[in-house]
């Protein structure tokens, strides 16, 4: 008789919310071997050619393949299956929106809970790291060609890994003092421990990728110089320029972009000031403007550096929030308060220029806008003030222009994103681009998917595929 399949997911142990808002340790603690095997045993093991989970993955990880290896308790085997298409499993296992990708189509969903693919992937990466296991480095013939990668975030890392595995000589340039891009400066420690990013970067170095920090392309070297020295260039410069609303008082002290707030905390370790030299404004109450994943990261970080009351201030309603459900849930559990249908109109400061009051106005939902979401319409006479010690803008980022402002050949869209065709070719011969530099703002794994496909396109180009006369802009969203 066939064994009964467990309908419910095996729960992932989590840090208690009351305890975790006082530390930066990871929230989800991850599966143990036994729990992982138990969860893995629920998988129906769809054949490779059919498995809907693989099709839902932007980098097409062979999911039933690595789950099988978990059942065999073969950690290196599982790791190698994942690494065939994804060099950053410790990262993707944590930050991918699995519920919209691999897990969305999981056949198990028809019988019960879908398989917790994300946490299983994470388990493989963590267990391997614990045991110091890396996948075997494939022995490939060197191509004798050089590729430069600009930016060491998710798209650049993925492109670099794939190109190195193909035998290219890859050099990655990073403006900050440490590689990893948004994975290092943006995503908080409690969602993605930096130790994991460093471990996965180490694997890239084992593949032969050179990572050069403290170099700003467009300043230290020009793009033209890179093109002289390298056979192809990939731009994975992300969407690093924060947006502010130009409201009265927007430059008062204590008003941050999410980028600055998170960079001070994550990259510069301001939460350990004065042991670390970088300070950050502390106080009792902080408001975050915006309702995406970055807003949740900022709000939850604020609790951890000692803010007692943290508000998410959002102009629409809960169902329009763009953050992942898991992030919203974690924020709620930790005590973040949500204020819907309100928009900031002014910031009022004290005599020292420190923000003290965030003035808001209430909205109602009107007609749908171009995004299909109902537009918030302010209700006259409903202005009110919220006393605050700090405010964080998490209303999005746009691409950083430092690189392109002196390169007229690189054409951009009206949003400032780079124009590329379906093979990630920019309007400049030999220059490819992907990730948020092209998409505006998306997710880590979509950027990784771009890096992967761009690597393939770069390989084709370096094998003689002609560069088109005209670049036909592809649509990525």
């Amino acid at each position: 008789m066939a064994k009964q399949i467990k309908k419910q997911r095996i729960k992932v142990p989590e840090q208690d919310p009351v305890a975790r808002i006082h530390n930066f340790n990871e929230v989800a603690l991850g599966y143990t071997w036994d729990l992982a095997v138990e969860e893995a045993s629920r998988c129906l093991k769809c054949p490779y050619s059919y498995a809907p989970c693989i099709k839902g993955c932007p980098v097409n990880v062979n999911i039933p393949g690595f789950i099988q290896k978990i059942l065999e308790r073969d950690i290196k085997g599982a790791l190698e299956v994942i690494h065939t298409t994804n060099s950053l499993p410790g990262i993707t296992g944590r930050v991918c929106p699995q519920e919209e990708q691999c897990e969305m189509n999981c056949v198990m969903g028809k019988l019960g809970d879908k398989i917790n693919i994300g946490k299983l992937e994470r388990f493989v990466a963590d267990e391997a790291r614990k045991q110091g296991i890396y996948p075997d480095i494939p022995q490939v013939e060197k191509k004798g060609k050089k590729v430069a990668i600009v930016g060491s975030g998710p798209s650049g890392l993925t492109a670099a890994a794939d190109l190195a595995k193909m035998g290219y000589d890859v050099t990655m340039y990073e403006a900050l003092h440490e590689g990893g891009g948004v994975l290092i400066y943006g995503i908080p420690e409690f969602r993605l421990p930096k130790e994991i990013v460093r471990y996965e970067l180490k694997f890239l170095k084992m593949l032969g990728v050179k990572i050069v920090t403290n170099v700003v392309i467009g300043k230290t070297f020009s793009l033209y110089e890179l093109l002289d020295e390298y056979d192809a260039v990939f731009l994975g410069t992300g969407a690093g320029t924060p947006k502010f609303l130009n409201l009265p008082g927007v430059n008062l002290n204590g008003i941050y972009s999410a980028n600055e707030f998170l960079t001070r905390i994550n990259l510069m370790k301001a939460y350990q000031f004065p042991e670390y030299d970088t300070p950050i404004t502390k106080g009792k109450r902080l408001a975050v403007i915006g309702a995406g994943n970055v807003a949740m990261d900022a709000a939850r970080s604020a609790l951890r550096i000692g803010y007692e009351e943290v508000y998410i201030v959002y102009r629409r309603t809960r169902e329009y929030m763009t953050a992942r459900e898991e992030e919203i849930k974690h924020a709620e559990e930790e005590g973040v308060k949500f204020m819907f249908l309100v928009s900031p109109i002014e910031f009022i400061g004290d005599e020292n220029g420190n923000v003290k009051v965030l003035k808001l106005i209430m909205n109602e939902l009107g007609e749908p806008d171009s995004s299909g979401r109902r537009r918030p319409v302010p209700i006259p006479g409903t202005e009110f003030g919220l006393e605050v010690d700090a405010v964080v803008f998490a209303i999005g980022q746009k691409p950083n222009k430092v690189l392109y402002q002196e390169v007229p050949e690189l054409k951009t869209t009206k949003w400032g994103t780079l124009i590329v065709d379906e093979k990630y070719r920019t309007t400049m011969r030999g220059v490819f681009a992907g990730g948020d530099a092209v998409r505006g703002e998306a997710t880590v794994v979509l950027a990784m998917g771009d890096g992967k496909k761009a690597a393939k396109a770069i390989d084709e180009y370096l094998n003689g595929e002609p560069w088109p006369e005209e670049i036909k802009p592809a649509n990525f969203w």
Binding site: N246, N251, Y256, M268, F273, T278
Partner: protein, 276 residues
Amino acid sequence: MFEILAKKELAPHIKWIRVKAPLVARTAKPGQFIVLRLHERGERIPLTLYKWNKDEGYIELVFQEVGKTTYEMGTYGVGDKIMDIVGPLGKPTEIENYGNAVVVSGGVGAPIGYAVARALKEAGNHLTVIAGFRSKDYVILEDEFGKISDELLITTDDGSYKRKGFTTTVLEEYLNQGNKVDFVFTVGPVIMMKLIAEITRKYEIKTLASLNPIMVDGTGMCGACRVTVGGEIKFACVDGPDFDAHQVDFDELMLRLKQYNREEKLALERYLKGGA
């Protein structure tokens, strides 16, 4: 790692260092800056370039010990290494032959003023330098300025050296004497730049101010350095550091520079007590 090749004390708490940084020296231009981090636990601070040598691969910086990081850097000697230096950052100063150019610097604005003054001289300008210092002991770069300027007007706040008074008074006098001025570059304390801008506004003289806000990355990523220029939000690190002085909201900049006064004081006291 970036090795310190030479070091000198120019005045009490004002130090000059020469650091090996070939990639920065290679493309550096007057008015540009670097961001440095001393060590693993350090903060990132911007410092504008004083001199550089492409062939020898070094840059020169002048800094005043005011906070924990600069005090600590002051203890670094020849052979010691700064962990991270990135640059050159920011837009170079717009150098052209304006005709009669005046550089007004205050205190440790002098090294930046020097870099720009030299380039203005090389571009063919008639160059006047007005350099103000607190007192005789704090006068720096006098010989350097002397070599490149057509006129050098040094002033001290207390009159202990050369003339007594602020740079604003000297500039105002210079203009009152009927000297025709086509361009002013100013760098130094924010209050000084603000007052210089008020004078040149009256005379309708094109004036650039080199701003020194707090920065983190220095590449346009964080917005810590945002300033209001002509009613718009600008990032000093990528849109500047030079801006039309007549458009800058200096009062806002002054307040923004005080953002971490309390923390800076705490960190410095702790450091001087031997805490870290």
